[in-house]
Amino acid sequence: MTTDTPAPATSVPEERYLAVQQSEDFAKLRKTLRGFIFPMTVAFFLWYALYVILSAYARGFMDTKVVGHINVALVFGLLQFVSTFLIAWLYSRFAARQVDPLADKIAAELTEKGEAA
């Protein structure tokens, strides 16, 4: 099965899902994915919250000039762009390497068995 064609909607009998959900492969897929997306979500949310809270409460620090008219607030804001782009890139690399092969394997097994049955 190629990665870009989804399995037809009707090819998996419903009772197969429960067995797959309880399989080791699936547990590993779930753990791998959640092990990345949950901590990363907490991390970027706290990083953003820190930025907003500093903008509200640490104005002296944010107003500090770094070079010319560029101050800490601007650098901090631009770093939010950098971190967003970076996390997006890290996730796409992680998903392609760690998640997609596992997901494809399980999906392929499911649809094959589905078609056989």
Binding site: T3, Y17, Q22, H69, Q80, F81, A88, S92, D104
Partner: protein, 558 residues
């Protein structure tokens, strides 16, 4: 002095003719695309999801076109031009939000849903209550957003076409032009959606994304060229011209204001900033018109690529607005901007005029660039309202008509016909509401739409996808609880009554101190979802297994 006046008038009429010509070209081109798309639209999947035939890149551009509203382009540029740094701070929430969509929502939703947000929410629940709740929330969020966009379009037209008080255009004074614009925008969005469905709407959004990025990029380069590509000297010139000095480059002129001698108000202002920030970040991944875009690609991987492209284009765009806003502050000046529009919404077009005069041969150049940017602004509004109309009519037809009223016993053809009728009805209702609201300050409705999406929709989506125990009661409690909390708190907030800038200036029933309800309503929505779940014994292990396996692997996806 008469000469200057005449020159300005001549410039106005050149710009006006050009704006209208360019706008008509855009409308003609998009209508042609819409008619072409209608020929490709045969099945329900075509109508709701563009046949799932778009590439990740195309969908990423369309997401950009769907998301970057007039509030982003004109609003943020204006906020930066008038209040400096705080406008930039505002834009960052809109970008970071996309990480929620990327990490937690886009792919899983693509794998487990079909046409609407409710497909995922109702997957393992009792269909009728959950789909009813989802339809109510989808239509509420979309209509709030639509009214804000349409009233914004009406307010802009007189300014962009240069209709001054006491003068007329095609026999219309400024007020008549406002009404005509709201009706025209409404009529066009109804045509895009009823005729072109998701395919037509998507192409309109893609074209708009390219126009907007092109226009913003050109202006950014010109602004930077003016300051020898030295960001620091641009900032310096902006802060000098603003009359506020370095404070213009620092947080605090607009959000989280410190009120001397009033510690309570200062406290509320700062909490309000945080409340707005979390609603922006958590709201995006709960906006129905954004969520349905993930169904237009063939696979979860293409949905992932769409979000990556969207993050790229949206992030780049907000970096452009930084240059546009500070450029407008430096080259046009705060006084000239607030004289045109108190909220600064004309900062970007005014900057375009100034840059055109500077770089492209005097007044004619100014008129040309002004016309281009004004036309881009209209295109921006049209693409967003079309997306909103489509999302709400899809939900009305697919969730409410087909699955609640007809209990799933309806043909595809019937359902699509109902979706078309719904688009017409929702469009008509929005036109009427926008006409009633046109003299009110409704800019807060965009932030309210984000707050409702973050408080009601997002908890329901996340619990659905990740929490096994979640059930029908939990889903309806989360959606209604979050929706009501956000709307009720805003109703009693200063944006609706009690202050000179409120929607109702002369009334006062305000008791909630914040403009943004997110800090209360978002936790409340999550809490409601949890309580509702715990109060009900319903669970469906079989269906949860199916949802989980499908969402993570894509097996059995539509």
């Amino acid at each position: 002095m008469n000469l200057t006046f005449l020159a300005a008038e001549a410039g106005d009429s050149t710009a006006r003719t050009l704006t209208i010509t360019l706008f008509l070209v855009f409308v003609a081109a998009t209508l042609a695309i819409t008619v072409w798309a209608s020929r490709q639209t045969k099945t329900a999947t075509d109508f709701y999801a563009g046949g799932r035939s778009f590439s990740g890149f195309q969908n990423g551009m369309a997401i950009g076109g769907d998301y970057m509203s007039a509030a982003s382009f004109l609003g943020i540029a204006g906020l930066i031009a008038l209040y400096g740094y705080d406008g930039f701070l505002y834009s960052i929430g809109f970008l970071v939000a996309w990480l929620v969509a990327l990490l937690l929502v886009a792919e899983l939703l693509r794998n487990s849903g079909k046409y609407t947000m409710a497909d995922v929410l109702a997957f393992r629940m009792r269909q009728r209550p959950v789909r009813t709740a989802a339809a109510v929330s989808t239509i509420t969020v979309s209509i709030f957003y639509l009214i804000a966009q349409m009233v914004g379009a009406g307010a802009l037209v007189a300014l962009l076409l240069g209709i001054r008080p006491g003068t007329t255009f095609l026999g219309m004074d400024a007020d008549a032009a406002k009404i005509a614009t709201i009706v025209l925008v409404g009529a066009l969005m109804i045509i895009y959606v009823t005729v072109g469905g998701m395919k037509g709407t998507t192409y309109v959004q893609i074209v708009k994304a390219f126009l907007l990025m092109g226009g913003a990029a050109l202006m950014t380069v010109l602004v930077l060229a003016k300051f020898n590509f030295n960001l620091s000297s641009l900032l310096g010139a902006a802060s000098d011209a603003s009359g506020k000095g370095e404070a213009f480059l620092q947080p605090g002129l607009y959000y989280g204001k410190e009120v001397a001698g009033n510690a309570t108000q200062t406290f509320y202002n700062k909490v309000d900033l945080f409340s707005l920030g979390i609603a922006l970040v958590l709201g995006t991944a709960g906006l129905p018109h954004i969520l349905i875009r993930f169904y237009t690609v063939p696979t979860a991987r293409a949905a992932r690529r769409s979000v990556l492209w969207a993050i790229g284009i949206i992030g780049t765009f907000y970096l452009f607005t930084l240059a546009l806003g500070f450029g407008a502050a430096a080259l046009v000046g705060g006084e000239a901007i607030s004289a045109q529009n108190a909220a600064g919404n004309t900062a970007a077009p005014q900057l375009a005029e100034a840059l055109g005069v500077d770089f492209f041969g005097g007044d004619t150049g100014g008129a040309v660039l002004l016309a281009v940017i004004a036309a881009v602004a209209f295109a921006t509004i049209l693409a967003v309202v079309a997306g909103l109309t489509l999302a709400s009519s899809s939900s009305l037809a697919h969730d409410f008509y087909a699955n609640v009223i007809k209990r799933g016993e309806t043909s595809e053809k019937q359902e699509v016909n109902v979706a078309r009728i719904s688009a017409f009805v929702i469009g008509a209702v929005s036109i009427v509401l926008a006409l009633f609201a046109q003299s009110l300050n409704v800019a807060f409705l965009v932030a309210l739409a984000f707050a409702v999406a973050a408080s009601g929709n997002l908890p329901a989506i996340l619990y659905s996808l990740f929490w096994k125990r979640f059930n029908t009661a939990g889903a309806t409690w989360a959606i209604y609880g979050g929706l009501l909390a956000a709307v009720v708190l805003v109703f009693f907030s200063p944006v609706v009554s009690g202050t000179p800038t409120s929607m109702f200036k002369t009334a006062d029933w305000q008791w909630f101190p914040l403009n943004n309800p997110g800090i209360i309503s978002i936790p409340f929505g999550f809490l409601c979802g949890w309580i509702g779940t715990m109060l009900s014994k319903e669970t469906d292990e079989q269906k949860y297994a199916e949802l989980e396996v499908r969402s993570l692997t894509g097996a059995g996806a539509h």
